[in-house]
Every structure is written in C-alpha cells, then in structure tokens.
C-alpha cells in the first residue's frame, strides 16, 4: 500500500482542517481525519449523512484545497458505463471509415474516445478530483461495477485494454443513506458519518456562508433549527436550510418585518413538506422564542 504522508503540502488532519477553513468550509475533527487518511492512504473517501449536512460541499472544498478540478458524477438509477466511464464517438468513427477510403485508420485512437467522469479522473489523477454523488441512488449493479474501479483505480476498455491511473486519484463518494451500501464497497473506503454540527460550529458556518447575517441572528436561527431537528419531522432541516433561513429572515427584516415574524414568515425555506409545516405551525412560537 502506497502511503503518502504529505499531499499538496498537507501533512496532518489539522493542516487539512486549516486549509479547508481557508476554502470556506468548516470541518470537524472526524471529517478532517478521515479526509486526510483517504488522501494519505490513496483510498476513496465515503461520506454519509442526512441531506443538507454539506457532503457535496466537503468534496468541493477538498478540490479547492488540492487545487484540482472537480469532476462530478451524479448517480441515478440506471446509470450505465457510457455515462460514467467512456463512450466511443461512433459518428466520427464512421465518418473516418468513409473518408479514408482504402487508407489504414485506427478506429480506436484517442481521437475517437469520449472520456466520461471516471475515465477523466484516471487520465489526470493529479489534476482532478472525482466526486460520485449520492451513490445510494444508483442501482446495485452499478455499485458492484464500481468495486474494480475503487480498488485498483483501473478501467477496462475492450478495444484498448486496461487503463490504469499513474497514482491513485482522489475520489469522494457521498450517500444520503436512503439504502444500505454494499459492504464490499464500504470496505474499500475511508468512512465518515457527517452528523449535524454542534450549535457553535453551525453558527460559524451560517456567518461564513451568509455574510450579511448578524451574529445574533445566526445564533437564534441555529437554536431554532436545533429545536426543529428534535421534533419528529419527515425531513429535518439540514445545514443548507439553516443558512437559507438566516438569509431569508435577514432579508425580510431589512424590509421592515420584526424579528420573530421574519423567522416565521420565512419558514418555507426550512420546512419543505406540507405535513411537517402543519405539525410545526402550532409549536412555532415556542420554537422561536429565546436564545441558544
């Protein structure tokens, strides 16, 4: 196993956390450790967590820290090799056959190969970061098919043979945990469960992401969201919702709405489910009163 202690000048979880902070992402210790180990051990990083806790953001920040281009592959049921790996440019191949007449033409040259995200990541492992987003949406067959890629970082193209990465590319997988991932997949990855951040950290995130929001507003929003998450909701608000709520309430307040009313009127950016809204409506005043 190739172990690299330092990647792009980052030689410890603390250094990575610091660099992520500079890239506008506040990572807790567990995430920084898992991400650092994934980089150092050359393994994929699997991030699981509820929707809206910043899994995709983490991958984007990591790409920014490493100075790499983010190649994103959104998983969905029915995702297949031609969308994920590579495809032959058939119209061009056919044209080439016609144009060349009797001359020799290599139909499987690079000119005719269209690289898709997984191949893109293998071709330039030092310049790209592959994000396979919401892997739980894909079907099991795609998951099985990822196994070869994630353990050897190689792809087989029948006409060309096996393409191997010069060094392990950085791969981040995210999952909302709508279904359990296969153990063989989890085994190959460094894992981190992103939970909801603690109130202190979340308030910092709100202030960092939404610069117009006052300190006091940020803390009130975080306290209210914390109470909302304790309620039995179909869809508890994520961090992204917290930030949006703070921004929306600040906007309404600037237009003259008093504070608690501004929060209450902007509730639509936090709760996006009719049943949840009906359930929370009578309790909303109690949730909004008081500070953290």
């Amino acid at each position: 196993m190739a172990v690299r202690r330092s990647i792009a000048g980052i030689d410890s979880p603390e250094a990575l956390a610091e660099a992520l902070r500079a890239a506008q992402y506040l990572a807790d210790e567990g995430l920084a450790t898992a991400a650092y180990l994934a980089l150092a051990l050359g393994k994929p990083l699997l991030l699981e967590g509820a929707p809206g806790v910043g899994k995709t953001e983490a991958a984007k920040a990591l790409a920014a820290v490493l100075g790499r281009e983010l190649v994103r592959l959104q998983a969905y049921e029915g995702l297949d090799a031609s969308a994920a790996m590579y495809e032959w440019n058939f119209p061009r191949q056919m044209l080439a056959i016609r144009q060349m007449g009797d001359a020799y033409v290599n139909l499987y040259a690079d000119d005719f190969l269209i690289a898709r995200p997984m191949l893109l990541a293998l071709q330039r492992p030092r310049e790209r970061l592959l994000l396979i987003d919401e892997i739980d949406r894909s079907d099991h067959e795609f998951e099985a098919f990822l196994l070869e890629f994630l353990s050897d970082f190689s792809l087989s193209i029948p006409e060309r043979g096996t393409i191997r990465a010069a060094e392990p590319p950085v791969v981040v997988l995210t999952s909302n945990r709508t279904r359990e991932l296969h153990e063989a997949l989890r085994r190959r990855c460094v894992y981190h469960w992103i939970g909801y951040p603690d109130p202190q950290l979340e308030a910092q995130i709100v202030m960092m992401r939404a610069s117009a929001v006052a300190r006091d507003t940020a803390h009130r929003v975080v306290a209210a969201v914390g109470k909302l998450r304790a309620e039995p909701l179909a869809k508890p608000p994520g961090v992204a919702e917290t930030v949006e709520w703070a921004e929306a309430a600040t906007l309404l307040n600037a237009q003259g709405a008093p504070w608690p009313a501004a929060f209450a009127r902007a509730i639509g950016v936090v709760l996006k489910d009719q049943d949840d809204l009906m359930f929370i409506a009578p309790r909303l005043d109690r949730i909004l009163e008081g500070r953290a």
């Binding site: 450790t33 180990l37 297949d80 079907d139 067959e141 989890r186 085994r187 990855c189 469960w193 939970g195």
Partner: protein, 369 residues
C-alpha cells in the same frame, strides 16, 4: 513499536469481526497505516483512525466505541440485550436434506374448516381454489415488477448499437446495410415472502403458504420464510411442483405453528443472516401478518426500518385490514405504517391474490367462481 505493543492493534479487528462489524484484512492493514500516519500522539488518534477506517454507522457507534475501550483501555463492558434464553428466535434452514413426506392426514385443528367458513361468508360464490391459484400464477408473471438491467441486448427496437454497427460496417467495406439496435434487458425483481405463522394468524397461514408456493413456482427468483418464535426458510420445500406435497413438506419444517408472536425479533434474525438479508436488497417484500406483537414494538420498528432500507417495496397483507372499519391502532402497526408501501387485506386466498396482482388481472386470467 515492540510486537507486544502491537497486540491490541491486531486484536481489535478480530474483536470487531466477532461482534459482527465489518473488518476485512485489508482494512486491518489500512488501520495500522492510518495509526502510523496520525502520529500517534495519543489514544485519541488511534480512535480517530479506527473510526475512519472501519466506519461504524451512526447506529452502532456506541458499541464500536465500547469495544475500542475494552481492547485499548482494558475497560470492561456488557453487550446489551443479547439474552440467550430459549425464547430468542433462531434461524432455521433445513438445507438440502429432503425429508420424507408425512402421510396425508386430516387436519384435526379445524383450521381448514374455519378458513372455508370465512371464505364462504365473505364472497358471493364458491371459489374453486385450484382454479384461483392457477389464475393467480398466470396473472403474476405479468404483474411482477421488473427492473431495467444494466445489460444491453440486441433487439428489434431500441437505440442504435454503434459498436455492432461499426463491426458490421468494417466487415462490409464501410457500408451500412441494416441499423443494429439494442436496448436494456428487463429482469424480474426478487420476491421475498415472509409469513407470520403465530397463533393469532391461525386460519390465514395455509392460504399464505399456497400463495407463496404459487409465487415461488412462477417468479424467477423468490424466497419464502415463516416467522413466529423462530425463522424458518421454506423456499426449498415450496419449490415442488405438486402443491399438496410442497405444503406438507413446508408444514413439516415449521416447528412453531401457532406459537407466540415475536415478529420483530424473528425479522431481526432474518436481517442478521447476511445471506437472507442480501436477498431482500432491491426485492419486493410481501409480509403476511396481523402485526399483533407480544411485548413492546421497538424491535419490530427497528427491524422494519432496516428492511425498508434494503427492500424496493414492502407490501403488508393483514387479515385485519379486510374489515373496512380497520384502522391500524396498535403502537407497532402505527409506527411501521410509513415504512410500508401498501397495506392490503389478506384474509383469504382470493383477497391475497387480488391484492398482489390486482383483482381485474386476476379475473382476466381465469374463472374460479
């Protein structure tokens, strides 16, 4: 690091494995590398490395940390809730030992009689059971949900198959004579039938087994289990073509007819056997039960949540739901209602067959009245 200091690092993955966590040899190796990378300056670094490499899910984090404390800090702990009393459900699979068929005998329990009685009371005609079951089997193959396989196959209609077209072209000197097309193949989803055979379900289990037999004979990939105080795999028995033989064989395997209901625990036993749980992945799960649970609903809710994350659809057939006035009132049933896709009436053979394939489709497939 002296070999002796290395001991806990080797013992930890073993202990994890013993407790049912995921800890492959390659992960154990990564764990050692990770600890080396992090310093380690303190036991915290070791714990962080363990979390990142072995990745316990949020629900088992506490057990993982307890195990960690035991191995690395020498702290004792108790494994919660692992009582090994006689009552704990166990998994039972007869394997391939085909047993002798018991002789045909009259059922002294009167189960058959009471079932017929109910059937008669509800429907407006006498139902020809054999005709109903064969109509069900005919309608089933069309009604079973299919999923699109990743495999493409040549077809008459579909999207262009450039790879084949190109090969064809190269062979024919660059001429296209016929456009080659292909499409994604369709596969049947797996069907998993779980039948509650506890005392409260008495009278409905025979019909449920008949339905399961028809499913197993028809579907490409299907499994059936009975649940009560223990879990029994009856798939192999129900594979027989002759219905009565298959049912007799299956009944012989089930040792806990009319026992107490421990649905939650039997389900968690089902889920804890990887071979069984793997079958539920992406499958249509049919549960035949009244949902009456002895004891608290927690185990059932936990097991259903887990099953939900594996299964594609969960269909619950309850004999109680046949009553139009039925509302899921028990704590367990109310809690798992959002986890299931359909709650249908499952009082008798006709209701079950109708719920699974649709009544119209069932009538189209044959006359049974």
């Amino acid at each position: 690091m002296t070999p002796r200091a290395l001991d806990p690092f080797l013992a930890f993955p073993r202990a994890l494995r013993a407790e049912g966590f995921l800890a492959a040899p390659s992960q154990a190796e990564s764990f050692l590398s990770a600890v080396g990378l992090l310093g380690p300056r303190s036991i915290r670094d070791v714990r962080r490395a363990a979390h990142a490499i072995f990745g316990p899910g949020p629900d088992r984090r506490q057990a993982f940390d307890d195990l960690f404390d035991m191995i690395f800090l020498g702290r004792a702990f108790l494994i919660p809730g692992e009582a090994t009393s006689e009552e704990t459900p166990r998994a039972f699979d007869a394997g391939d030992t085909e047993e002798m068929l018991p002789p045909d005998e009259e059922d002294p329990s009167g189960r058959e009689a009471s079932r017929r009685e109910r059937l008669f009371a509800r429907s407006f005609g006498v139902v020809d059971e054999a005709a109903l079951l064969s109509a069900f089997a005919r309608a089933l193959s069309g009604a079973l949900p299919r999923r699109r396989s990743r495999r493409l196959q040549a077809a008459r209609q579909g999207v262009a198959d450039p790879r084949r077209a190109l090969r064809d072209m190269a062979r024919r000197d660059g001429e296209i004579l016929r456009l080659q097309v292909r499409r994604r193949r369709m596969r049947q989803r797996r069907v998993l039938t779980l039948i509650d055979v506890s005392g409260s379900m008495k009278g409905g289990t025979d019909a449920a087994l008949r339905i399961a037999h028809a499913i197993i004979r028809t579907a490409e990939r299907a499994e059936a289990f009975t649940l009560s105080t223990r879990l029994t795999r009856v798939t192999r028995a129900l594979r027989r073509r002759n219905r009565e033989q298959a049912l007799a064989l299956a009944s012989g395997l089930v040792a806990d007819w009319d026992g107490g209901t421990r649905l939650g625990e039997a389900l968690s036993v089902f889920l804890s056997v990887p071979r069984f749980a793997g079958f539920a992945r992406g499958a249509v799960v049919i549960i035949v039960s009244d949902g009456l649970e002895r004891g608290g609903p927690e185990a059932l809710i936990a097991a259903m949540t887990r099953l939900r994350s594996l299964a594609w659809r969960i269909i619950w057939l309850s004999p109680l739901a046949a009553d139009p006035a039925y509302r899921p009132e028990t704590g367990a049933m109310r809690a798992i209602l959002p986890l299931i896709d359909r709650l249908e009436a499952g009082g008798d053979l006709e209701a079950m067959a109708g719920a699974l394939v649709g009544e119209a489709a069932l009538r189209r497939a044959g006359t049974f009245r």
